[in-house]
Symmetry: C2
Subunit: 569 residues, 2 copies
Amino acid sequence: MPFTSPVADVRFLLDKVLGYDRLAETETFAEAGADVTEAILSELGRLCDEVLAPVNRNGDLTPARLENGVVRTSPGFRDAYQAIAEGGWLGISATPEFGGMGLPQTLNTAMNEMMSGANLALQLCPLLSQGQIEALEHHASDELKALYLPKLISGQWTGSMNLTEPQAGSDVGALSTKAVDNGDGTYAITGQKIYITWGDHDVAENVCHLVLARLPDAAPGTKGISLFMVPKLIPDAEGNPGERNDLRVVSLEHKLGIHGSPTCVMSFEGARGWMVGKPHGGMAAMFTMMNNARLGVGTQGIGVAEAAYQHALAYAQERKQGKTPKGDTAIIDHADVRRMLAVMRAEIFAARAIALECGLALDMGKATGKDSWKARAALLTPIAKAHGTDIGCEVASMGVQVHGGMGFIEETGAAQYFRDVRITPIYEGTNGIQAMDLVARKMMDGGEAAARLLQEVQDNAEAARGTLPELAEATWEASETLREATEWLVAQEMNERFAGAVPYLRAFARVLGAHYHLKAAMVEPQGGRARLARVFIERILPEHAALLAQARSGAGPLYDLSVEDLQTA
Amino acid sequence: MPFTSPVADVRFLLDKVLGYDRLAETETFAEAGADVTEAILSELGRLCDEVLAPVNRNGDLTPARLENGVVRTSPGFRDAYQAIAEGGWLGISATPEFGGMGLPQTLNTAMNEMMSGANLALQLCPLLSQGQIEALEHHASDELKALYLPKLISGQWTGSMNLTEPQAGSDVGALSTKAVDNGDGTYAITGQKIYITWGDHDVAENVCHLVLARLPDAAPGTKGISLFMVPKLIPDAEGNPGERNDLRVVSLEHKLGIHGSPTCVMSFEGARGWMVGKPHGGMAAMFTMMNNARLGVGTQGIGVAEAAYQHALAYAQERKQGKTPKGDTAIIDHADVRRMLAVMRAEIFAARAIALECGLALDMGKATGKDSWKARAALLTPIAKAHGTDIGCEVASMGVQVHGGMGFIEETGAAQYFRDVRITPIYEGTNGIQAMDLVARKMMDGGEAAARLLQEVQDNAEAARGTLPELAEATWEASETLREATEWLVAQEMNERFAGAVPYLRAFARVLGAHYHLKAAMVEPQGGRARLARVFIERILPEHAALLAQARSGAGPLYDLSVEDLQTA
C-alpha cells in the first residue's frame, strides 16, 4: 500500500496558516528555521514512504507472536524500527543534553502523523518511547536520567507504559500492583498489567517499563500511586543490559487491528524497580506521559485517515464503472464518490490544523513561559485527541465505502485502515473521557481560554469578510453559537456538562476546522485551498448546530430512562 | 454471545404504531391476525435466540473454507440452517401454492431482522433463497416454478444471485458472461462471477444459481441481459439432484467480516441453464430479486445493531469503573455511556419502524392493489436499506466504544458485530446508489409520494401538539424543512440531486424516525416510549438541518475541485 507523506500540506499549514515561524524567533527553538524544518520533513517523508509503509501489511498479515515467552515481531519491523532509531527520530523533541534534537513538538506532531499513516502498528513503539522520555525528563532523578535517557533517545531501548489492570481501566486509581521497598534503593514490584503496548519485542535490546504501583502505606485511589522504572534487563555497572528482571509476558491480545503491535499481558513477579519522582506522586509523572501521548494518538487518527484517503483516491481514479454526466467513467466522477473524497480531504485538513496548532501552543508555552499559550495547549489537547481519532474512524470507513465490494475484501487493504484506527478513540483515555476533560478541567477557568480562542476565530472571520463573505459569515455565526453554548456550559453542574460533553467537543472541532479552512482560503482565495474550504464550511460546519443542541439537551432525559426502558423486550 | 429477539418491541410497533391490524382486514392477509402473528414471532424468537445465535461466533472463528472444490461451512451452521428449513421459515411470505405460508412481508421483515441479529453470516443463506423464490414466482415458467419452488421453499435447496463480474459491479450492464442456445431448451452459460454469497456450501443438497448473462445477439448494456437458472446439480426426471453441472467454485474471499458466509468466485464453464423470463428481460427479474433483498439488507443492519446494543448494555450494567454522581459505579451510570446507550436504542427503534413500515406498504400494495401503497413502498425501500445499514455500522461502533479497551479485543465479540455489519452499506447496491435511486427514480412523480408521507408526518404532529407540544413542534418543523428541501430537489438537474443524495436520504430518515418516535410517545405519554422519543427528537433529529444544508449545497463545489486539489502533496 503506497503512502505519500503529506509534506507540502503540512508545510502549507505551518507556513501560511499557523504562524510556525514565530517559534524560530524564540531562544528555545531558534534552530527550527524554515531550512531545518524543510529538511526534517523531507527526510521524514522519505523514511515513512520508503521504509515504514512498505512493511505495514506485514504487520497485519503476520502479527507479532509470543514464542517461548519472547515476542517476535512482524517481518521487516525490526529493520524499520532500526531506521527510525538510526535517524535519531526518537529524540526529535527530546533534550539535547542526552542526545535529543530539541526541536518543537509541532514537528514531532507532524512526524507522528506521517509515521502513523505509514505504519500505525510500528509507530506505537516510538510513540511510547517519546512519552517515557518526556516523563523521565520531567520527573526522574539525575541518575535515572543519565542511565536511561541516552538509550531511549538513541532508540537502543524502548519504553512502555504500565497503567491498566483488569479492574482498573479508565479508573486508574483502582489499581492494586504492589511496590515494596527492598532497602537498597530499589523496590519489588508485583502485579499484573494488561494492554501493555509493545510490552516486549525483538526490535531493540531492552524494554523499559514505567509501572504504576502502590507502596504498602499508600492511600486508596490516585493519591496513593507511585511510578517505577522496571527494565526488562537490569542495566549493569556500565549501563549495558544485564540480568533478566522478574517480569514476563503472559500472553498477547488477539485484536481487531494493529496486529503488528504486540499488546501484552505483563506479570511483574517481585521485579526490581526504581522510583520515578516522589512516593505517591506517580500520577503527576503519568499525566506528563499521557498528555504527550494524547496529542500523539490524535495524530494517529489523522495519519491513518490520510493513508486511507490516498488509498481511496487512487482507487477512485482508476476504477471504471458506468457513465457519468462528465462522460468519463472513473468513479471519482460520480457525484457521491466525489462528495466522499472531498469530505475526507476537508476533514483531514481541519483535524491536522487542530493537532499542529496544539503542538505549536505547547512549544510557545515552553518557549515563552506564557500561561495563555499553556492554557491554549491544554484546551486543544482533548480536542486534538478525540477529534483526530473520530475523523480517523470516519475517513477510514469512507475509504472502505469508496472501494465498494472491494473494500470488504481484506486483500484490498482498505479494511486494515478501518480496523487499525478503531483503537484510537479508545486508548489514552476514551474520547468520552477526553470530552469530560474538556468540559470540566479545561473549563475551570470559567471558559476563558475557550473564549480567547473563539475571539481569534471571530477576528479572523471579520478580516475575511471582504474577500470571502459567505465563508466568513458562516464561520463567524458558528463561532458565536459556540461562544453562547460555552457560556451556558460553564454555568452548569458537572453531570449536565458530561451529558453533552462529546457533542460539545465535536462542535468545537467543527468551528475550529472552519477557522483553519478560512485562514487557508484567504491565502489563495481563488485556489484549491479556498475550494476545499467551501466544501468544509458549506457541508460540514452546519453540523455544529445539531451538535450544540445535543450538548445542551442535558443529563435529565438520559437519567430519566430506566434500565427497563433500555432493555430490549 | 446471548441474544434476545426483540419480539415485544416489534409487536409494540406493529400493534400500536404502524397499524399492522389493517392487513388482517384484507383478503390476501386474512390469516395474519394477532394470534398468528404472536405465535410466529415467539417461535421465531426461540429459533433465533436458542439455535442461530449460539453458533454465531463459530462463523467468525472457523470461517467457511474451500476443500477440494467444495465449501465446508462453519461448525453448527448446517444444523442451524436445517432448523430454519424445518420450521418452514424460508417460505414465510412465499405462495402457499408451492408450500409457502403466504404471510406478510412485514413479518418476513421482522424475521429477517431477528435472524440477522442472531447470526448475520448464516442469515444470508435464507435471505438469498427468499429473493430467488420471489423472482421465480414472478418471472419463471410454470415448469420451472413447479420444479424449483417447492425445493427452495422447503429449504432443501438454496438460491444464489450471480450478477457481479470483476469489471461489472455497480454497473451491472457491463457484464460479459455468455449464454448460448443448446437447441434443447437449455443454454450453455460461460463466464466468471464474483462476490457470490453462499455460492456453495454443505448445509443443503443443491444450490440454485440465478445467473445474468448475454445471448449472442444481445444489445450492449442492461437491455441485453437475460436471466438463467443454473443449478449446481441438474434435477433428474423425478426432480431429485442428479448430474453435476459444469460450474465450480474458484476461490473464497477473505473478508473483513461475516466469515461464516462463503463468498465465492464462481466459474461457469458451459454450464446448463434454463431461461427465466424473456430473452433480454433479465433485469426485470433481477430487480424483483434485488428489491426484496434491499429491504432485507436494511433489516440486517438493524438486527446487528440490536445485537451489538444488547451486548453493550449488558457490559455497561456489569462493568464497574469509578464513582458516579449517582453513587453507583457500573459504567451505565456515567453520563456519556448512558448517552451512547440511549442513542443506540433510539436509533434502532427508528430504523426498525421505517423498515417495518416499508414491509407493511409492500403488503398493503399487494393486498389492495393501490398505487399509493406501492409508491410508499418504493419510496421507503432505499431509505430502509441505506438508513438501516448506516445505523447498523454506527451502533456497532458505539458498541465497541462502550466496551472501552475490551471492545478492541476480538474475544469480547463487540468487534465481530463491527466487522460483520460493515458490508451492509455496500452490497445490494451501495448506500450511495440507494440515495441516487431515492432522488431520481423515486422522485419521478415530482415528489408526490414523499409529499404524501410528509403530510402524514405533519398531521400526526398536529394531533400530538396538545399532549407533547415540544416533541410535536420539533417534528413538525423538521418535516416542513424536509418538505421544502424536497420541493427544491425535484426542481434540480440530476447531478445536482446526486451531489446531495446521501445527506438528503439521511435527513429523510431523521424526520421519519422522529415521526415514529412521536407516535410511540403518544401511546404512553408518561412512559418509557416517550422518554426514548425525547432522546431521539431532542438529540438526534436536529441533525436533519445540517444534512439538508449539505443536500442543497450542490454539485458545483464538488466538481470545482480539481484532481490536483484532491491530491496530497
